[in-house]
Amino acid sequence: MQDQPKLKIKKRSNFVLHIHPATVLIDSIKFNRTFGLGGMALLLFLIQSLTGILLRFAYVPSPDKAYDSILYIENSILFGGFVRNIHHWSGIFFVIIAFLHFVRVFYSQAIFVPRRVNWIIGIALLILVIFSNFTGYLLPWDQLSFWAVTVATNMLSYIPFIGEGMLRIVRGGNDVGSATLLNFYNFHTGILPITMILLMIWHFWKVRKAKGVAVYEGISDYRVPSYPNLVLKELVTGLILIAIIFLLSALLNAPLQDRANPAYSPNPAKAPWYFMGIQELLLHIHPFFAFVVIPLFFFGGLIWFPFAIREGRQGEWFHSEKGKKLALQAAILALILTPAAVLLEEYILHIEDWLPGWPKGISEGLFPFILLGGSLGIYVFYLFRKFKASVHEIIVALFTVFIMGYIILSIIGIWFRGEGMVLTQPWNI
């Protein structure tokens, strides 16, 4: 019984079977171990490459032709609009799925040796996925894409000393223009996908080297052949994802506003949705802290964690039952406190006015940052005293606060900021 599938593997040693081990632990292929997120990310990359290459046949990366070439794709090419829709919606899915995969990997603690290198490759992949979407965002050259990229790249200029130079390099000049479009096009359809392919090969190889996904010790060591057990599950997950994307692309068109007009900004002008959390943060805290210090703390901490604390219970969700409880508590806390803080700041506190006459870097930057850091410090102390939480559990809780906080800030930025970036209800935007 066990032998028969193995024989089949030999006969069909094609690529799909090649990247899988011959047999896998039965517990490692339960859907709720990985939720299929890594596989979905791969599928989305393949969809993006295929549709992207098709779009490239008609797309022209120059300011006076780009918009027309999108119109041509939509109106004159058979299924052109459909292909563009697929590229648009999968691009959004890709960011979300890669983010969820990142969260799942962290919570299942699959970040220590031998998965530590993969954790870092993964963080690089997450950043590349976001930049892939961002560079694609400019290409249609409509009002939405032009101003989103103008606003988002301009955030760079607030980095002390090197920001202005970086901004000029990214844009290829002072303004978003033909050099910017060519830069973005080259990154979007060349440098970024090639880098991702290399990193993904390394990523998959590392998963194999770690003997598959993380499962907690004490789990049954019963193994089953990968084919058909795992491959079939992947196939079904993939087909469902494809069905959802096709359905969405048939029903909802990718947006296309008026041709980009550098002289008139739309109101409000928003960064792409995945940067809206940062743009929202920018309304409350000095730019240097919003997108240098805080992201550096977050990603730096994530990389530091498996190096400083070298061991963990890999495969055990949230590290422990207590970790799970604290993560839930942290999520609820962030869910309530983030909107409360935004509302208080907006209408009552105006923390930026508390230190009049001080340099902005201190009154709007360091000071609120210390307030924020101080409250997190108190929170950590509370976890430690009240729950006797271990380092792992505290970090799981802090991670949850950051993730939840960012999601809430994004939701506020995307749906609750109307004209002039004042708070409104979603139906008034």
Binding site: S62, W147, T150, V151, N154, M155, R168, I169, R171, G172, G173, N174, D175, G177, S178, A179, L182, N183, P262, A263, Y264, S265, P266, N267, P268, A269, L282, L283, K360, E419, G420, M421, V422
Partner: protein
């Protein structure tokens, strides 16, 4: 595998006389230096392609825009030159100032509001007075200006060089 190699090497080296070791390390260093040189060359080639401002794709090098005759501009008013990326302001004493329309917050294009006599940014509601000085944040500093040159009764604006400023002062105004 690697460790084993190092191990045998060090054994060899201790047995061998001094010169062999230094020749080996000398060659190693040469390789290293060549590698670094190649890397720098790659970087130079890359930055040649990537450098900002070098690739002038539109083909125009002219940055001096002729705005019009001095006499054409009424006192105490603001004239939009949207294609040239600036507003030309003429003050009551006859002085000119070319104010960039790029908001200093995140780079949207400001609009002149004639009723309020303010530049308003549609993106995040910054506003600026007729000198380009911030009335309403989040914009952190006044709007940039462009150098104005007045020759033979014509007003010319050099849109190649935006001038950053932290406050308004009268030296920013150009007189005929």
């Amino acid at each position: 595998m690697k460790e084993k190699n190092i191990h045998t090497n060090s054994k060899l080296e201790t047995r061998n006389s001094q010169p062999a070791t230094s020749r080996r390390s000398f060659l190693k260093r040469i390789w290293g230096i060549l590698g670094i040189v190649a890397g720098i060359e790659m970087l130079a080639v890359f930055s040649g392609f990537f450098a900002p401002g070098k690739r002038n794709l539109s083909g125009t090098t002219q940055t001096l825009v002729v705005a019009g005759n001095v006499a054409d501009f009424k006192l105490n008013s603001v004239f939009p030159f949207r294609s040239g990326k600036f507003y030309l302001a003429r003050f009551s004493d006859g002085g000119f100032m070319a104010i960039s329309l790029k908001c200093t917050h995140l780079g949207c294009s400001v609009l002149w509001n004639e009723d309020k006599k303010e530049f308003m940014c549609p993106c995040h509601a910054s506003s600026f007075d007729k000198n380009g000085v911030v009335i309403n944040p989040p914009a952190p500093r006044p709007l940039d200006t462009f150098p104005v040159i007045i020759e033979e009764g014509k007003v010319k604006v050099d849109i190649g060089k935006p001038v950053r400023r932290l406050a308004f002062d009268r030296s920013q105004i150009t007189y005929a």
